[in-house]
Subunit: 196 residues, 4 copies
């Protein structure tokens, strides 16, 4: 990568990071492109050399952050030391929940913008390795599932939807109190998808 390209990549990152920071602190609609470029330290016109408009950077950011979330969970959590699928799954989910607990802006951003379509698209096209890792976990202990993708879908939706209010408003209870029930719910869902 030449010096020019390095510079370009640096500008792109700067714009993405600044946008994420602003999006998560003051919301997407209340963040203007002027603010992004100002905080990123580039000229207004430069923004349009890298992104089509605000929705373009938003979309790229969502895919990027969603994958980051999973990558962190797959790299950091000790799920590999667990023996069965259920334990691995909960280890991964707990890591993701921990990340969100640490960054409320992230919760708001991901929850309000991450639809299943964007999420699965991001995973299949931009980050196939992450998807592959999930596949591996699913089948490595010889389990058989009736509709594995629907199971993943159901669990992802449940976790992402239920953590929002729990983490941000501690309503109806706080995350630590809710976790046992969430775990039990997830396990029972997994059980209901198991092929007999």
């Amino acid at each position: 990568m030449g010096k020019v390209d390095e510079n370009k990549e640096q500008k792109r990152r700067s714009l993405l990071d600044t946008a994420f920071s602003l999006f998560t602190t003051k919301g997407i609609t209340k963040t203007s492109i002027s603010e992004i470029v100002e905080n990123a330290g580039v000229a207004k016109g430069t923004f349009y050399l890298y992104f089509k408009d605000k929705y373009d950077i938003e979309e790229k950011l969502i895919a990027y952050k969603a994958n980051q979330l999973f990558q962190h969970a797959l790299n950091t959590s000790d799920y590999n030391s667990k023996n069965c699928f259920e334990e691995k799954l909960l280890a991964i989910i707990d890591d993701i929940l921990a990340q969100m607990q640490k960054n409320h802006g992230l919760v708001r951003f991901v929850n309000k913008n991450l639809s299943w379509g964007i999420f699965s698209h991001a995973l299949t096209t931009a980050h196939p390795d992450t998807l592959q890792a999930i596949e591996t976990i699913l089948y490595e202990d010889g389990r058989r599932w009736s509709e594995p993708n629907l199971m993943i879908y159901t669990i992802v939706e449940l976790v992402s939807a239920s953590c929002y209010s729990v983490i941000l408003h501690k309503d109806p209870t706080d995350l630590d109190s809710y976790k046992p029930y969430l775990h039990r719910s997830i396990l029972s869902i997994v059980h209901s998808f198991e092929e007999t």
Copy 2:
């Protein structure tokens, strides 16, 4: 109610209906007050006689529509003829899903704007009768739950989150195909909350 008051109520409804129609077709942020009043057939200033600003009408609309959804389910579905809690619950949920299937705008609106906080607040303050009906169903067949409100929370979040992509984009599958799995997931969640 005098002629003047009738007229006022009619204006208010006209504004609410128009706002809902626009919010569900093109989104809240992209809907301007100018558009609402134009479509409602009233002058711009009139809007401010009835609502403080766009967020005021938005909030009132959410509570109104969320309650309407439940009321319809409680009034229309034949849940009363069912014998146990599980069957009643599924009957109610199926009615709500049917309503949403018929009105995709409603799905978008509810999903993007209805957080648990607003939902529970709307139910406890504005429509306590709806809440009472749910309580009744919970306990009438002598069942005992470890944390009934967390169970309701979990189910509400799962249903509202998972129906979005399924109804709007038939992704990962269409509603009819998904329903059996959703039912099974719900039943297993209910089971996991049952006191032993």
Copy 3:
């Protein structure tokens, strides 16, 4: 005066008083007719039964308040016990300054709106008795003036202009410190207008 007329006069006064109170506290331009009628406790349409528009009530208020200021000075100050014109003049001016010191809103209102034209017009047409009183003071001790009206004009302008910053901002000094110099300046102006 009949009961109806009493009611009318009461409404008129209420509007005038409220307008004055609002004009002096938040400024004329920032006061809306809506606010005036709301605080006065009458309907919006009623305003237009008594005044043409905001500028109409403003004008009437200025004349009314300016005369009130003089009337108070002529009635309250002990200028009658003084022997010569100079002493009477200073007694009257000091009373007016004291009134203004007590009501900064009045200073702002009078100073920014009271032009000589309105002032002299108000005195000659609406309150000729006040004017007469001034005439009397001018000549009762047998003094002769080269241009008495220009003298009055000069003194009125000097006092009304110089008291503004002194009273409201104590800049360049406060009223008590400034008064001796103002007195001396006035006396020297009077002297310069005396016929030799």
Copy 4:
């Protein structure tokens, strides 16, 4: 200065000039930003690149015009050829009066907006040289004053207040007729401030 900067300065001037022209002909409150930009031949958004809002341009205009008035008097009037302070003072005042006589809009603008606070602030911070020139005149012929700044204050207020009605409405008389009396009043004020 590059071509871009030249262009910017030209735009700024255009906006200031247009604003002054409109402010003096139809008053500040009745002048809208839309009108200013329309007459200045720039887009609405451009205004906000140069000024924060209407009050910002107003403030800058007042300081600018007040200084211009004094600068003209100090540069143009032959006050330097006069021997004593009194004569120099009257020469300067007469020049200012002449400027105002020529430009009634200026009278209106200065009189309605120029308070002592703004005036002295503008002179001390933005144009200290003008202030220095006044100081020099005060003391160069060895005169001693009891409170020189209060004297200046008194004279400035008297002149600026009394010229308004005289110039704009020739009421109670026209400027030429009033000048001798104003001169005499000023001289007697100066005399009253002289240290004995």
